[in-house]
């Protein structure tokens, strides 16, 4: 039974669920059936993360968005920090590094590419400033990984090495494409290898230390023995029929 991974992943998911549902979904009182929990299934994902205010505004009650069809991807082959070629748009043929990924929409943002330029000014009198912002690209069709051997875009397959490691292999040349540092990043954007431990963190050896001693006593009895609590009162008679 794997303990640490399970606990870590549920912790962040619970946080995200709480942030999404808090103040957006309120339970309703129904006269006969009682409190009815509001359950929302059609969440609408855009560039904003689920715990942001903008996401909450997008998903307010009464908001309608056209239905979005997303191709389900079982195993992601692209990670943050991967070098990638853009296949469509103005920046067709250009190479770039991946900034961020939005799995709910199969979107990928490439640094500095596929941008839109908007002129924004604080007031009508002030001269407008040109703002550059990246637009998302679809992982399945608009972006491809680059084969390091010939710097050209390829499709990849997941294969196993002799040692048993899972690697990405370019279908065209057979060259192994190494995983970037972003592949080890967890859901909450923390890279465990480069994580600096704080005061409130229990370390690996402390977690793995086994201090359990099997005893034939209940939890309450154990506490009483440990704390020196003595119970001399006799419980009153109870009856069950």
């Amino acid at each position: 039974m794997r303990l640490t991974q399970f606990l870590l992943s549920r912790y962040f998911k619970r946080y995200v669920e709480r942030e999404m549902t808090h103040r957006t979904l309120r339970r309703q009182w129904k006269p006969i059936s009682g409190w009815k929990e509001a359950v929302k299934k059609n969440w609408h994902y855009e560039e904003h993360r689920p715990w942001t205010d903008a996401f909450r505004q997008d998903n307010q009650a009464g908001q309608w968005h056209p239905r979005v069809f997303v191709e389900p991807i079982k195993e992601w082959w692209i990670f943050k920090g991967d070098r990638v070629e853009v296949l469509t748009g103005k920046d067709k043929g250009k190479h770039g590094l991946i900034n961020s990924i939005i799995k709910e929409r199969n979107w990928v943002y490439v640094e500095g590419l596929n941008c839109e330029y908007t002129m924004r000014s604080q007031s009508p009198n002030i001269q407008p400033i040109c703002m550059k912002s990246e637009k998302p690209l679809l992982v399945t069709t608009q972006v491809k990984l680059i084969d390091p051997s010939d710097n050209k875009p390829t499709d990849i397959e997941w294969r196993f090495t002799e040692k048993g490691n899972k690697v990405r292999v370019s279908v065209r040349t057979g060259r192994i494409i190494p995983l970037p540092s972003g592949a080890k990043e967890l859901e909450d954007f923390v890279n465990p290898e480069s994580y600096t431990e704080c005061e409130k963190d229990t370390k690996d050896d402390e977690v793995k230390e086994v201090t359990f001693q099997p005893r034939l006593s209940t939890f309450e009895q154990d506490i009483m023995d440990a704390m020196g609590i003595k119970e001399n009162r006799k419980p009153t008679k109870t009856y069950w029929y």
Partner: protein, 161 residues
């Protein structure tokens, strides 16, 4: 009856009010949302009616009106006269052991690797605690009906007491 001038005025006022655009209470109005705002007049003001999410309400006002969903339970009983009698057993008492030399901290570092453990079953507990004693007794020859009966009688007498 109609001789009194003031009564005439009152009667005509009532009639004109009725004929004018005053709404009258019907069953369709009594169950709607508007009938319950600011509060349901049939029942009186509840703490939730003066809550922070209601118009004209606030957390402080709701707390003055009584116990709401986010407020703690009273730690005693209010008697008929309204006097409060605190009950010691209703105050929660946290039994916390001494945390000196306690290595576990509130959070687990991201660097910890996965732990895989088998389930600790009742059989494992038995093997760890009693199994050895039973085996020793059996090898020594202490396990027989007479000693077992004596033990059962001893247990019965202790339960009675």
């Amino acid at each position: 009856m109609f001789a009194n001038n003031s009564f005439k005025v009152l009667f005509s006022r009532i009639v004109y009010d009725f004929l004018g655009n005053r709404s009258f209470a019907s069953s369709s109005n009594l169950f709607g949302k508007k009938a319950r705002s600011p509060y349901d007049k049939r029942f009186g003001i509840r703490p939730s009616d003066a809550g922070p999410l209601r118009p004209g309400g606030s957390k402080e006002l709701a707390s003055k009106l009584g116990r709401g969903p986010g407020m703690p339970q009273p730690v005693g009983i209010f008697d008929k006269t309204g006097k409060f009698h605190p009950i010691k057993e209703m105050i929660p008492e946290f039994v916390v052991p001494d945390l000196k030399d306690f290595k576990l901290k509130p959070y687990v570092s991201y660097r910890c690797t996965d732990i895989s453990q088998s389930e600790f079953t009742a059989k494992d507990l038995f093997d760890a605690t009693i199994a050895k004693d039973i085996l020793d007794d059996y090898t020594d020859g202490k396990i027989d009906m007479k000693t077992a009966e004596k033990k059962i009688e001893a247990l019965k007498s202790s339960v009675k007491n």
